[in-house]
Symmetry: D3
Subunit: 125 residues, 6 copies
């Protein structure tokens, strides 16, 4: 029996984000449950599940975009955690964010670094 | 004798971009030669020359950011060529751009794909 | 006697936003009272007062733009309330915000949905 | 037998865009056929096919977002045509674009108006 | 007799932009003549006519914003010409654009410099 | 003996920002000390130290860009303080921010005005 896009997405988001996927689905359950479903199905069931690019590279791509756009701090933090989960080192994540100074300016990079600092601090036992 | 930031940047940009670096320096030579120097020194002499992240990952980060921001098509094309130069496959580049549909919308991803299509076509003998 | 742009704008903003218009004028009164006047005159006295597009459609347009731009959460909330005031249902507002996932990415849509969730919660008696 | 998301999307995009959908699928066929499929499935099969908001309002939302973001002129033109197809008048489209001066500035609105001017001119027999 | 906002705006735009104001009004005359009027009235009749900031500083502000946003090249060129008209030197304009590398990234600054290069070339007899 | 870029940048940032420069360097010291160094060297050692544009004009340029981009409120506040330090009046700063309504929309200008209001309030003894 073929796995549905939703099931594949759920498996992928839990591989990448741990509990963050469940939390966002939960937070949308009363207001926009269909959107929660789309979020599992398209980004995670379709895109992140594709072969052809490893998950480390996918998280580098996402952190770059969210740092450069600069208007999605909660999602940036989720993906900094995700990058750690899929094997990026803290140092690699910081390199990606610093590089964004070149493409989106120093304030965007600074705000990305402060987001990383918060995430890394949470993870220190 | 220590290599200057400019010399290190020039070496790095030529490793990454082939002739594109020279061309942009040339295009700025009459109007803003100091900016051409900064462009060699900071992005390439400082950032791309850092250890801690391989060049393939750096180009993935740049293509993501430029696709997501959507207002720098000439530079996106330069970095699609650069990504090919440093070892990304066409398929990997397309994966990165497609993923941007999730973070910056379908039009940003579409315009990135069309940029890639143009670059890949140039390279076909 | 012809109504001034300011008076027409004040009437329109109070039709659309209830008390929100007064509050923003008040919040600017010490620092930039001229800007408060422009805000009444141009957006509300000139644009929202134009025939040719109903207020429901105007609020749909505004919610779309503010969700997509993603850097004006306080104004987005004001216009989610305004949309309810001029006859949009909660469901219609959520449809508009969800659709922005296609044009500005999932994080922009998510942040818009959370803004709507807060506004709808305030309104529940 | 249940209609697939792809079939539903294809039916919807052809209702909205006429031939534009086919053209974009065609233009992606050599480089990213999977992305062409996603473009039919998610925006058109999932989002535009939802009940709860009429197509006129959906096109108003899209024109607003693309005018405000300002980095997707080809897609803006496609959706100006689409808005005409689903029953928006030229006047209503212009009202939406003009309103964007308030939320994204006068240059964004001006560039949107010039896009509309081009589209309207094509349609004049 | 008090000068209208329109007349004041027209006087100001012609002081700043020479013929560019007339041209944009003309280009909108068939499609959105009201918007042409707003463009004269609000930006030029209200804002640029205010005391409290000299025109050189106002053009520096505008060139910065348009370079940083990066999605309004035609308007950026108009304001590079305007800056020259109100007394900015070519060198000062280039300084402003180069500085944007810090706040919006190198591609935004590069594209601004190329816009300036085109404008300066036109003006050379 | 020639002053290094770092020393020149440190001197310049302290002339412009007072203690803000030190604070940002301090806040990066554990996570990205190299980025703190780049921040002193490139923006302040290279760009702000250039002749050819006075510091008042440079701060006007920066406030414009950060207000227009709208995703860097902490940095906007730093530069509103900086503008006061280098000789801009509160009135001039407000003029610059209000003008951004024309180029980036009313919400961007409003959020800039509220940032200025907070900074001016801190400075009142």
């Amino acid at each position: 029996m073929k796995e549905t896009r939703y099931d594949r997405g759920l498996r992928k988001i839990s591989e990448i984000d741990g509990k963050a996927g469940e939390q966002v689905v939960e937070s949308l359950s009363d207001i926009a449950p269909d959107f929660a479903r789309y979020l599992i199905e398209f980004p995670f069931g379709d895109i992140y599940s594709r072969p052809g690019l490893d998950l480390k590279s996918r998280e580098i791509a996402t952190i770059s975009a969210l740092t450069a756009l600069g208007n999605a701090q909660p999602q940036l933090k989720v993906h900094i955690r995700a990058a750690l989960n899929v094997g990026c080192s803290e140092g690699e994540i910081l390199e990606v964010i610093m590089q964004m100074a070149v493409y989106a300016g120093f304030p965007a990079a600074l705000n990305g670094l402060f987001a990383a600092k918060e995430v890394f601090a949470e993870d220190t036992p």
